[in-house]
Amino acid sequence: MRTDAWLAALAGELQRHGVGADLTGHVVAEAAAHLADSGDPPLAAFGPPEMYAAAVADSVAGPAPAAPGRTVGPVRLAARGITKRYRRRTVLADVDLTVRAGEVAAVIGQNGSGKSTLLRICAGLARPDRGTVHVAGRLGYCPQDGGMSEFLTPDEHFVLVGAGRGLSRTAARRYGRRDAAALDWAPKPGVQARHLSGGTRQKLNLTLARLGDPDVLLLDEPYQGFDRGSYLDFWHQVFRWRDGGAAIVVVTHLLNQLDRVDTVLDLTRSEAAA
């Protein structure tokens, strides 16, 4: 790997780890100076950029916390007393969830604890046996899988979903490509969804959910198939959308981001009570 490519990759990885721009510039400059002085190839001197970036990020205490004094807005999603049974099995028992503009809520729980069911109920794709959901504003939903046409390209998906949101073709493509780029993905023209890798399909899935800047975003384990870098990109985007005023619900079973979210809804208890 050439030195300038390695340095660029290092800068990208540091940003993914939430290292600030100043410190990123400093670390990259230090590494560049060392490589120039030593004449060593970067992989021999520092190893792969993602590993070196991870080590640097760990040494500076991980990702930056949310901005202090951040204010949240009005309630965007209010689910009250949601109860859902499948035959005799109670999946959700009297579950409440409130998410305000500028908040991220994580829904956690074991397999089968009703996480996806709760999101489908909030999206209006499933009906609860009891309870109500109020949504203020536009809703974006990213299912665990599916939600796309196998024979259409990403750009065509952007146009199709964008037309529903009232976007022109140009605007839909522009917004779609912008959000795809934020996930470190540049859709190749002419490649149909069925030919995308699992992780890239999920990026498309997520990008489609975001199209039209919805006020409420429901994400059902959208990072499945992501590599580590994409996973970090995803969480960075989630917090960026939150800071932009979106109310976000993320179903997750990966707990290492929970200290950064605003609300955690654990459905394990609800399942156990059943």
Binding site: A123, R127, M148, V161, G166, L208, A209, D215
Partner: protein
């Protein structure tokens, strides 16, 4: 209107990319036509129309089934049932016209002393009815295999049941038999009227069934209230 056109465009793009399927769809009516070419003059015409109906219904069935995964997302994005149904129907009609045109030309060149206008009417009605029939099957039956079996049974019955029998009228392509008789045997307009009425009614009923099934599948979501912000 924009939403309907975009759905139609994307549905056409999807179908156009299934090239092997398109080739099979194009050749299926030809096989029907050639299988009865040596028989009575009208038989090959009746069979080619039935073949077109079968091919287009199958295309509609698979298009409807393939759309199931993306439709919840499209509804959440702002599409109504009418956009989705009208868009898919428009795409299937366009495909049907493209598939039928060569066969109309074939009949025009190969068959003489028949009423070509009536044959064009059979093909046009077949396109319209097939699109709604295939979409209705995909809306009512959740899996493609089930829909395909029903389609197979219907087309099989269409070939075997005596068209003069009252029960034959419940079959969706009964009109083609009536219109073909008018076109080939130069009968009175009774056959024409019955055929046109049956085809039009069948198309309307099947389209209504598509809409009702879509609504039923979506179900009532009384628990959810949306408050628009912009």
């Amino acid at each position: 209107m924009t939403r309907t056109l975009v759905v139609a465009e994307m549905a056409l793009r999807e179908m156009a990319r299934r090239r092997v399927v398109l080739i099979i769809l194009l050749l299926l009516p030809l096989a029907f036509y050639l299988s009865r070419h040596g028989d009575h003059l009208g038989q090959s015409i009746r069979f080619v129309c039935l073949g077109l109906g079968w091919a287009l219904s199958t295309a509609a069935l698979f298009a409807g089934s393939a759309a199931r995964t993306v439709e919840p997302r499209l509804r959440l994005s702002g599409y109504a049932d009418r956009h989705l149904i009208a868009g898919r129907l428009a795409a299937l009609w366009a495909l049907g016209v493209l598939l039928s045109a060569p066969y109309f030309l074939l009949v025009r060149l190969d068959q003489h002393d028949v009423r070509y206008g009536a044959i064009a009417a059979i093909m046009a009605l077949t396109v319209v009815v097939s699109a709604s029939f295939g979409l209705a099957l995909s809306a009512v039956l959740p899996r493609e295999l089930e829909g395909t079996l029903v389609l197979l049974a219907v087309v099989g019955l269409q070939m075997m049941v005596d068209p003069a029998h009252t029960s034959a009228r419940v079959l969706p392509f009964w009109f083609s038999r009536e219109l073909a008789t008018y076109a080939v045997d130069h009968t009175g307009t009774g056959y024409l009227d019955r055929g046109l009425l049956h085809g039009a009614l069948t198309a309307v009923l099947l389209t209504v069934l598509v809409a009702v099934a879509a609504r039923a599948r979506r179900g009532r979501r009384t628990h959810l209230t949306f408050v628009p912000l912009r």
